[in-house]
Amino acid sequence: MALEQKPPDLEIGPPITGLEGSDDEPIIAITEPLWRIRLRLLWRSFKKNWGLFAENRIGLVGLFVIAIFAVMAIAHPILMATAWGGDNREIYDPVIGYDAVVKEFTVVEEVTDPLSEIELIDARFTNINAQVGDVIEQPQQPASPSSRHLLGTDPLGRDVLSQLMFSTRAAFFLGMVAALVTVFIATTVGSIAAFFRGFVDAFLMRVADLILLMPLIPILIVIGGFWTIELWQLGVIIGILNGFGGVAIVLRSQALAVSVKPFVDAARVAGGSRWHLIFRHVIPNVLPLSFLYMMFGVTEAISLEAILSFFGLLNVEMSWGLMISIAQAEGYLLRGLDVWWLLFPAGLAVTFLAAAFFLVGRAMDEVVNPRLRKR
């Protein structure tokens, strides 16, 4: 620890003598090391904040939904190693699996029941000799949900449930990368702009305005046109654009309010350098708000991923957006409820996870900002 380096030429002053209470024996007995005391204080403030957070139902609902998705993400590799593993792997693999459910259809002139009848012209794709009245076996992809595929298969014959669970991991990963990069950049940029003011402030805030003006999705489409974006790259790009843009402006105004507080002046009189003031006094008081924006950042990243995957601009093995994209590419997007398992699981997953992070963010808002509390 840097604090414990003791330069040889500086000594602490002699003890002040001749005062009440200063006997010859040491005045205090602090037996615990400093880091353990700090850990305990941290734990105590965490418990207090958790109490405030837990009072809010919407936050708990959000956490619950996130927990469900987390279980899905963790369960997928376990399932791939057990029930979906071994010989079943070819069937259940989310990317290269294939399983066409074979079903019997009666060949008819005019279809009245699409689940058991097939038109002559379609039947002849499978069997050129098919006649009206024959019963032929037809492989189905996409196949509707069955005990074998709980959420059916996609147009390429892959298990939708497996895809859904596999994609959860990517969504969490992307959300975390984007949120962390956003918060790191926005907190630093906002605090530095607020602390130094003047030219630095004006420059950084004009950059922020510029980035805020740029339409994010068209830009990502243009970038995607030049090179295929990896998932983590998308996270970093979203993080940078958000971090230099809107979030930086919000955090800068918070940092501005903090950096004129007398305790910053007090630290300056104590001899603290600029970086000491920024990192020890300004940023710690901005961080709660940063974490709040981190939650909202996750929401945005998950939605953006779905949009970009839908356009096919993201180099990702499997994701919720890609699942919808495939359904669209194969012409199932407008078939509505006939093929609900192609659209609803992925679409609802995006909606629910994004909403869950937003709800957690709202609940954290009340912890951070006492004015929003009900009591």
Binding site: L19, I28, L34
Partner: protein, 335 residues
């Protein structure tokens, strides 16, 4: 005559009005306009005046929270004299930061809410890399005892919101004293405290000044507080010192009309007391490019147009032993 611990010479602070990139400022607010005073070792000087007269600006310049725009501040540092308004050397700055400390007005805002009492008090040691962690712990505990927050170990790791206003101000005093400063600027340290604990904080500061031989610049608008705390009092008006004398001398025989008006406005705890009418008129005049005449001219009850209205602001002159007044007419007034 002993060496002054702090000597202020023609100290000046001007703020430009409406400066832009293309046009250099023509108008200035003269917040502090050429003031002189000295503070001896162990002495405390009170700086009184109404809001906006520049007393806080003066204090903040003395601790280098504001840049000085003119004049100099000389600090005696173990036999050496350094001009603190023009410190360029890093070592000098470091020595200055441990020689001069400040106690702030608002105990609720002058402590970082996310740091413990230990972090706050030990901060000067931490940032100046003095001592090891156990040393600092012992020193912080010693100071907590000194300012009457006992037992120290029960206060050390509390957060500011767990302390009362008086306790926080004691912590602020401990922080100011941990580097063994020789000079402390106290900016209305008791004005935000309850009357009931004000006196104990003031007693503490007096006691510590006595024992540690600290000099204070005590900024206040409350003459009663100044009387209790200070050996000498300087009265400021619109960036100028108008009267400077020993406390009892100044309060007993005020010479400058402004000081007399200030004193007549002090509340008296007697319901039947008939307050003499306050002599001065009007409000405080503006400090942007002040006219070349006495600053108090517009409000002064004894001003004479042929003297005060045409000559520059009067210089601070010794009208009685150790009693300095800035007024052309004061000799002609009964003291």
């Amino acid at each position: 005559m002993t060496e002054a611990r702090v000597e202020v010479k023609d100290l000046e602070k001007r703020y430009p009005v409406q400066k832009s990139v293309f046009r250099s400022a023509k108008d200035f607010i003269h917040a502090v306009d050429g003031i002189n005073f000295r503070i001896d070792p162990g002495e405390s000087l009170g700086l009184v005046g109404e809001s906006g007269c520049g007393k806080t600006t003066t204090g903040r310049m003395l601790v280098k929270l504001l840049e000085v725009t003119g004049g100099e501040v000389l600090l005696q540092d173990s036999g050496e004299v350094i001009d603190i308004s023009h410190i360029t050397d890093k070592d000098d700055l470091k020595r200055f930061r441990s020689d001069v400390q400040m106690i702030f007005q608002d105990p609720f805002e002058s402590m970082n809410p996310r740091r413990t009492v230990y972090d706050t008090i030990a901060e000067p040691l931490t940032v100046q890399r003095i001592g090891t962690v156990p040393d600092r712990e012992a020193k912080v505990a010693e100071l907590l005892n000194l300012v009457g927050l006992t037992p120290a170990e029960s206060f050390m790791f509390r957060f500011p919101h767990e302390l009362s206003g008086g306790q926080r101000q004691r912590v602020a005093i401990a922080r100011a004293l941990i580097v063994d400063p020789t000079f402390v600027v106290a900016d209305e340290p008791t004005s935000m405290l309850d009357v009931s604990i004000r006196i104990s904080v003031m007693d503490l500061m007096l006691k510590l000044a006595d024992r540690l031989n600290v000099s204070y610049l005590y900024i206040t608008h409350d003459l009663a507080v100044a009387r209790y705390m200070c050996d000498r009092i300087a009265v400021m008006y619109l960036g100028k010192i108008v009267e400077l004398a020993d406390t009892e001398d100044l309060l007993g025989h005020p010479m400058h009309p402004y000081t007399r008006a200030l004193l007549s406005a002090v509340p008296v705890p007697d319901p039947s007391y008939q307050r003499p009418p306050v002599e001065i008129k009007g409000g405080i005049s503006k400090s942007i490019n002040p006219e070349p005449r006495c600053r108090f001219y517009d409000r002064c009850p004894i001003a004479r147009e042929d003297i005060c209205g045409v000559q520059d602001h009067p210089p601070l002159e010794e009208k009685a032993p150790n009693h300095w007044v800035a007024c052309y007419l004061v000799d002609k007034q009964p003291a």
